[in-house]
Subunit: 205 residues, 2 copies
DNA sequence: GATGAACTAAACTGGTCAGTCTATTGTACC
DNA sequence: GGTACAATAGACTGACCAGTTTAGTTCATC
């Protein structure tokens, strides 16, 4: 009847993923126990193991689906029609907003922590997040519209610098659980300073 | 007889720390077993437990001593006497060199991973590493010598931007275990681009 | 209301691990 | 050579945990 129900093996599939996401992001791979995941998911351990062959597979399923979600966080095309400085500011602002979210911080932490144990994980995270952002900004910076106002020889290097400027010390502090001012005002200021520095370097004389 | 021997409780203390560093940095906190640490250190478990009350204390001792070492990685004063662009380039280059070392990457990974479980750890790492760097660069950027050539209203914001530009995508890739070009040439280029962008923004008209 | 698949709780297995304990051996010093 | 501490190997305890199994329950569907 309900066509939108995915073709997964059973009704509790999404519950399992949700519980596992919760626990894995909070505790990391080693720190999370399967019993706890089952409890959090409101599901029996046997059910969980009917979906996934083992803990690793569940872990990878959760994190690659999170990376998938992350990569769908695309830049609105309408932003890019605006004047370059405004567009840059908007990009910086929304990028920063995303970076500072609990979601993004937790996924980052776990991916960094387990990128030794699960080599594919670091790659999957990089490709679905930082690389997407880099590609999109580089494409924008390489566009004809931008070329009229900015002089950019290497769009990837420029995009990299732009994104680095956005990140700022504030992000590092959040990642390390150090108290920090992450008010909208502060984030605004970082976005403005990012654009100011970026334009100073790349604006046409 | 040997005065340089530290006044720790026994002769094997340093061995314990060395073994623990090795294993913790490779495996993380949960992934490392005390038996393995003792084996790596060439020491019995009982000896290890005569120095440290439990695994957590050992972990913190290792990492805070690593952070200590990190913070002693100070900027040579002679660099700062050179002309500003040259000084900036040298700072960028040696900062990058340090950031990309196995040591620094491993410590960072473990601190990020465990900063939830050990809140003091994230703080200790931040204070002994990133914060030191920020303070030192900000002090330099706020100095009179620099003020003659650069116009900097907020030395901390400027220092933050400078350090962010150094980090670059390359660092993120290494942290996530993604293959990357980290040749001296590449690092040189990043340092030069960092200085170029920084000067474009802050050089006096 | 019968059928079969999905789900359940709970017990169980085999393994690992943190931390303790014991009995013994080295080592330094008087 | 006697005293006292440092260190050792290895056995042991109690806890936890991944993954399996069993015997029974829910639920959609016909």
């Amino acid at each position: 009847m309900n066509i939108s129900v995915p073709l997964k093996k059973g009704r509790k599939f999404d519950q399992v993923i949700a519980g596992a996401r919760e626990v894995f992001l909070r505790e990391g791979f080693e720190g999370a126990s399967v019993d706890q995941i089952a409890r959090d998911a409101g599901v029996s351990k046997a059910t969980l193991y009917s979906y996934f062959p083992d803990k690793q597979a569940l872990f990878m399923a959760v994190l690659t689906s999170q990376c998938q979600m992350q990569s769908e966080q695309a830049m609105g095309i309408e932003i890019l029609q605006r004047p370059v400085p405004e567009a840059l500011y908007s990009i910086a602002r929304s990028f920063l907003n995303f970076l500072m979210s609990d979601f993004s911080i937790q996924v980052f932490r776990v991916c960094v922590a387990e990128s030794n144990r699960f080599p594919e994980l670091g790659r999957a995270f990089y490709d679905s997040g930082p690389k997407q952002a880099l590609d999109q900004i580089a494409a924008y910076l390489g566009s004809e519209k931008v070329a009229r106002e900015l002089k950019i020889d290497d769009p990837y290097m420029a995009a990299d610098q732009f994104l680095q400027l956005c990140r700022a010390d504030m992000l590092l502090r959040r990642i390390l659980n150090v108290d920090t001012d992450d008010s909208p005002d502060k984030m605004d200021r970082i976005a403005r300073e990012t654009v100011a520095t970026f334009l100073a370097r790349y604006r046409r004389a």
